[in-house]
């Protein structure tokens, strides 16, 4: 006959398995903080160094020959920030997964990524289309919008707080679409400040 201790351990194991198999919990709060810092630095460089701050939905930066130098710089900068943020997130999350004795790339992680992939891909393609049509002012708010939708969609399979984060990003994206002149500022708030606050909150709530 098993002892009470064994039964308690059975229950604890059941609870842990239910959580591990339905939610991706290796996402690190620090990844959010770092992504936020990169975004703030990036937005500052775009604004102060490249003088990028579109205040109309269409500034027609397309000259006869192609994309303007400023826009090209900003796009390269954005790609660089994205790569840094994703790289940091993968690195920190893999360390956290290791500490939890799990694999980073498991069925739960795949599910989160698949659920993010569709809104992100749609948003990415739409943003490329808008750049090609010269609708530069909408690029920043639309990245916020689709990123928010992706988070909202994936939140079922990870921490519940991601749902709120997604809704905040969607709200900022909608605001930015209306007040196009504040697009870059709202982008910096959404990807920078909000990520940092979220990261700190998650770190203190789950990782201490």
């Amino acid at each position: 006959m098993k002892q009470e201790k064994d039964y308690s351990r059975d229950l604890a194991e059941i609870r842990s398995m239910m959580e591990r198999s339905s939610k991706f919990l290796s996402l690190s709060g620090w990844a959010g903080i770092m992504a936020g810092i990169y975004a703030l630095v990036g937005a500052y460089i775009a604004y102060a160094v490249f003088g990028f701050n579109p205040d109309h939905s269409s500034d027609l930066p397309l000259t006869g020959t192609g994309i303007s130098a400023t826009l090209l710089n900003v796009i390269l900068l954005a790609v660089f920030i994205l790569a840094m943020a994703v790289g940091t997130a993968i690195f920190l999350s893999s360390k956290k997964a290791e500490k939890r004795g799990e694999k980073l790339w498991n069925a739960t992680a795949r599910r989160v990524l698949i659920n993010m992939a569709v809104p992100l891909a749609v948003g990415g393609i739409l943003v490329l289309i808008m750049i090609s049509k010269g609708l530069i002012g909408f690029v920043a708010p639309f990245t916020l919008l689709f990123y928010g939708l992706a988070l909202y969609n994936a939140s079922k399979f990870t921490y519940g707080e991601m749902r709120s984060l997604g809704l905040i990003e969607i709200g900022l994206g909608l605001l930015g679409s209306y007040f196009v002149g504040y697009g870059l500022l709202l982008w910096a708030i959404g990807f920078g400040v909000v990520h940092i606050i979220y990261g700190i909150y998650m770190h203190y709530k789950y990782e201490r």
């Binding site: 009470e4 039964y7 308690s8 059941i14 398995m17 591990r20 198999s21």
Partner: protein
């Protein structure tokens, strides 16, 4: 069905079977590899436990192909769900009873 005296189900005596049922209880379905990752067991070990649960009709198995690779998914049956939740409440009762 073999039910032990105290309401615990014999099929869930094994940690691995308990783990399989817990994972399937909160997921619509999982494939073999996902279960293997969560439980950290060998193919043969997992397969034999899955077979045992299938024989009890607690889980149902669906074989399909992803491209040319066979892909087997598992889902919990209503019977399995009931047996598992009965087992859970029996566990809870035992722990409460023993500590009071």
């Amino acid at each position: 069905m073999k039910i032990l005296l105290n309401g615990l189900h014999k099929a869930f005596e094994s940690r691995i079977r308990l783990g399989i049922m817990s994972a399937l209880a909160v997921n619509d379905m999982l494939d073999f590899n996902a279960l293997k990752e969560y439980l950290d067991v060998t193919d043969g070990n997992l397969a034999s436990h899955l077979k045992a649960l299938e024989k009890e009709e607690f889980i149902k198995v669906e074989k399909s192909f992803v491209g040319r690779k066979p892909n087997t998914t598992y889902a919990v049956t209503p019977l399995g769900k009931k047996a598992f939740s009965d087992h859970l409440s029996a566990l809870e009762k035992l722990i409460k009873g023993a500590s009071s």
